[in-house]
Amino acid sequence: MSTVDERTPEAEEPENPTNRPAGMHLVSRWMNRPYARRIILLTVIISAVIIALTFVMVAFMNLSGGPASDIQGEIEKTMYVLTFTCAPLMGFTLAIITYSWWGGWGKVKSEEEPTEEGPAIRTNGVAVVAWITVCSLLAAFLVIWGLVELATITASSYGSVAANQQPNSAKAIDINVTGQQWLWSFEYPDQGKITSSELVVPVNVPLYFNVTSLDVIHSFWVVEAGVKIDVNPGAITNTGFTPNKLGTFNIRCAELCGLHHAYMETNLRVVTQEQFESWVREQGGARTS
């Protein structure tokens, strides 16, 4: 028995056992079993459907105007990578249940009693080893990809190491985010401590958030920017991003915080540098740099 990946075009040629290694001979023999090609075909089709669905998923994520930051871009890229990695395995699994269900190996109707027994396959060393190897490699790939990606988005949130919690650039705008039941307020310490209930920021300038809560836990979710961090009482958490798209986006509370949690939302308005400066002046702010 063999796994799907070992399919070779040669398998279709007439057998010529003399000039081919024994293993290949077994593969082609396996391929000639009536169900082998059908399962491979099903696997390919289903995997393709799954991969296509990822595009639909990402389209739904972008329906409200995203991605509005590199971070969200990375997140969407990771969604593709994760699905591509898992799709063959999922496709294979669904192919087998479809084939078995459909009666590819025969079936006994509900009203009847089974009369014959199936093949007594207790285990199969090759299949087990191949399966464990493939799954472990896939899992290892997911882990490595995830770690690298996490380091990347952490760097674009706040410097290269999460733990040192430094803004990623001297030019970053510091913003103090305060959550309380059930509203958001944003304070701009470098712009003369103006406060606002909307998050207004210039495009392409790194932002650095100091986030805290006056009462219970909330969660600060800038939807289209792919940024989320809990808003805890008694502690300051940090995050950041660089908006790369002009427009109005959503900020929602993503942690149940009581009565009006559902209404605890506001806007992110990404504007040009000039618009930002005039907005700051309107609010009575001082410096803008």
Partner: protein, 656 residues
């Protein structure tokens, strides 16, 4: 020789003296006396506490929740009174008290307690027979599912009515919290309760559980724990989702105390049940049932019990501390006085994660038991299945922080916990291979239990891939706290757990009730619920991807369509479940009578007759092989070796 131990010949063993009627006080106790004495003691505790608080404070004060001072203490004591009164009234203390009075348990007492010759009355009593306890658990689970399902319909109604608030937001928040925790409890007991108790001892070839009286204790503690939880809806609700994060939970009215008492008691119930199951399997297996002949379902139940035993105390402790913060002004979770909200989250998820495996593992293992029977093939790679189960049990201990990626608690910890979370897919893949390998080239017998196998594999694939997204911290940064997470865990808990449990119940229904589950009506209900389930939760995935947070009752119009579809799907699930329930009830009463081994299984429970005799086996069985000896020699292999021989023959001929 000292006279502390005397060696008698067997027939001379002196029996303890029988005092009074066998069973004694237990003759008078049943569910009704339990409820009455629970209510009475609750009232007594309530008023005495009230009087004491009045004395201490002089009355009239208000605390920061603007509740009358002392109400919290009164309510707490009321619930404690209920639990003690209920347990006393069911007769849980009769045994220890009789023993302290010097009345040792006689054989006749034990037989009375096991419900021998008692008819239906035994289901309402503190009965020790594991088969009775199994049925009682099944009933409790069904009631909980009914309640949780009803609440789910209310939730979806609110979410479907996008143009208005149907419920007051506080009540809505209590609905989702109560729905969540009721369903979680129901799912935790759904397989290990009915089947772990009824089937596992028989599967092991035992006459009962290792500790029959603890078995009754675990069941009745569970029953006692539920009214405090449900009563929260009448006492201001829990308003916080099933996770009841602090400090929001501290703001909730007294209903929260019901939740906390429920969890504290339920954790005892689970711990006792787990010890009992593990001990039974370790010590009471039939002769010859070595560890490589134990049915895989038994392994699943043991794995689940181990996790429950180790991790439930964390949850219990988290609630004890919360209760103490509320009652005694301690500050474990109050940042202003040096506490930490992250402490709560850690304690909660230390159980919260393993618990999802507590639910899924037994349901999966039940399907692994079902597959060989309905495919008439051996379980593929039995040892790999065991490795998978215990791999998950082991790794489940080190993944809980994936629920806290976005808390800001310790951003650096996201690296190792992302790694461990993704690694847990390896033991999961073992179980998947076992399922696929068993299905491979088998001829399925299309009965309801086998249908559940297909349904559950499908749901697990969906739940698994979405779990992979969520385990990846960057992606979770988008998904966390959104409807996507809700859809993910429903695919696992409901899709794999509940549909698996339905298959398992259908499979063992004949053994438990003597009658077949009506195949046609059962299947109609099952598939209706399955289709509704796909609609509901695929739509919910979409809402989550669009950015809809969870636990909201009003939302951006952009999510309307997804929510309408989801609500319609939910009603379809409701209808399907009712049909399934109808099939269960009618079949239980008047279904077709089933023989001892209705499906042709090789496990021990299929070898004893139905209805199962009082002590399970007339003569204890001896086991000589594992229960998967199905199948005929593989025709392909025969073909291969025949051809090989033929070829060798040919080449030999050529050479000579």
């Amino acid at each position: 020789m000292s006279d502390t131990a005397v060696i008698y010949e067997q027939k001379h063993v002196p029996q303890p003296r029988q005092v009074g009627k066998p069973g004694g006080f237990l003759h008078r106790t049943n569910f009704v006396t339990a409820v009455v004495s629970g209510i009475v003691l609750a009232a007594i505790f309530y008023f005495i506490t009230g009087a004491i608080v009045q004395k201490v404070t002089g009355g009239g004060q208000q605390n920061n929740l603007s509740l009358p001072d002392g109400l919290q203490q009164q309510i707490t004591m009321m619930y404690i009174g209920w639990i003690i009164g209920f347990m006393a009234g069911i007769g849980a203390f009769a045994g220890p008290i009789r023993w302290m009075l010097g009345h040792d348990l006689t054989h006749a007492d034990a037989e009375y307690m096991s419900g021998k010759d008692m008819g239906r009355k035994k289901f309402w009593k503190y009965t020790t027979d594991h088969k009775v306890v199994g049925i009682q658990y099944l009933i409790v689970a069904l009631i909980l599912f009914g309640l949780g399902g009803l609440l789910a319909m209310l939730i979806r109604t609110e979410l479907g009515v996008t143009w208005a608030e149907v419920f007051n937001p506080n009540f809505y928040n209590s609905l989702i919290g109560t729905h969540g925790i009721v369903m979680i409890i129901a799912m935790i007991i759904a397989v290990t309760g009915p089947l772990g108790n009824f089937i596992v001892p028989i599967m092991c070839g035992a006459r009962d559980m290792a500790f029959p009286r603890l078995n009754a204790l675990s069941l009745w503690l569970l029953v006692a724990a539920i009214p405090p939880l449900v009563s929260n809806l009448l006492m201001g609700g829990i308003r916080d989702g099933w996770t009841v994060y602090q400090p929001l939970a501290d703001q909730a009215p007294v209903g929260m105390i019901g939740y906390q008492i429920c969890i504290i008691v339920f954790a005892f119930s689970t711990g006792i049940a787990s010890v009992n199951l593990i001990t039974t399997v370790v010590t009471m297996r039939a002769r010859g049932m070595t560890w490589s002949r134990v049915p895989i379902f038994v392994y699943g139940v043991v794995g689940s019990s181990i996790m429950g035993l180790i991790w439930f105390p964390m949850f219990q402790y988290s609630q004890i501390l919360a209760l103490s913060d509320r009652m005694l002004q301690t500050s474990f979770y109050t940042p202003a006085s040096g506490g930490s909200v992250w402490l709560y989250e850690n304690l909660f998820w230390l159980l919260g994660h393993p618990e999802v495996y507590v639910i899924v593992i037994p349901a999966t293992a039940a399907l692994l038991e079902i597959m060989p029977v309905f495919l008439r093939k051996p379980l593929f790679s039995y040892k790999l299945a065991i490795a998978g189960i215990f791999g998950i049990v082991g790794l489940s201990a080190v993944v809980w922080v994936h629920h806290m990626y976005m808390t800001g608690w310790a951003p650096s910890s996201n690296y190792p916990f992302m790694m461990s979370t993704e690694m847990i897919s390896i033991p999961f893949s073992f179980l998947l291979l076992v399922m696929l390998g068993t299905m491979w080239r088998g001829k399925p017998w299309m009965k309801l239990p086998m249908m559940a196998v297909y349904a559950v594999i499908w749901n697990k694939v969906i739940g698994g891939i979405t779990g992979v997204y969520l385990s990846d911290t960057p992606v979770d940064q988008y998904m966390h706290g959104s409807m996507f997470v809700v859809a993910h865990f429903h695919f696992m808990l409901m899709g794999a757990g509940l549909f698996g449990a339905m298959g398992a119940i259908a499979y063992w229904f004949p053994k438990m009730t003597n009658r077949y589950l009506d195949e046609l009506i059962g299947a109609i209900g099952f598939w209706t619920a399955f289709v509704g389930f796909q609609v509901t939760f695929f739509a919910m995935f979409v809402a989550g991807l669009q950015g809809m947070p969870r636990r909201v009752l009003q939302f951006d119009q952009a999510f309307n369509i997804a929510n309408w579809i989801s609500t319609i799907g939910a009603y379809v699930i409701g209808i399907g479940m009712l049909i399934f329930l109808y099939a269960m009830i009618t079949s239980w009463r008047s279904g077709k009578l089933a023989p001892g081994n209705p499906w042709g299984a090789h496990t021990l429970e299929a070898q004893t007759e139905t209805p199962v005799p009082h002590e399970n086996f007339p003569v204890l069985p001896v086991v000589t092989s594992d229960p998967y000896g199905f199948g005929v020699p593989d025709p392909y292999e025969l073909l291969d070796s025949a051809e090989l021989q033929a070829k060798e023959g040919v080449s030999k001929v050529g050479a000579s």
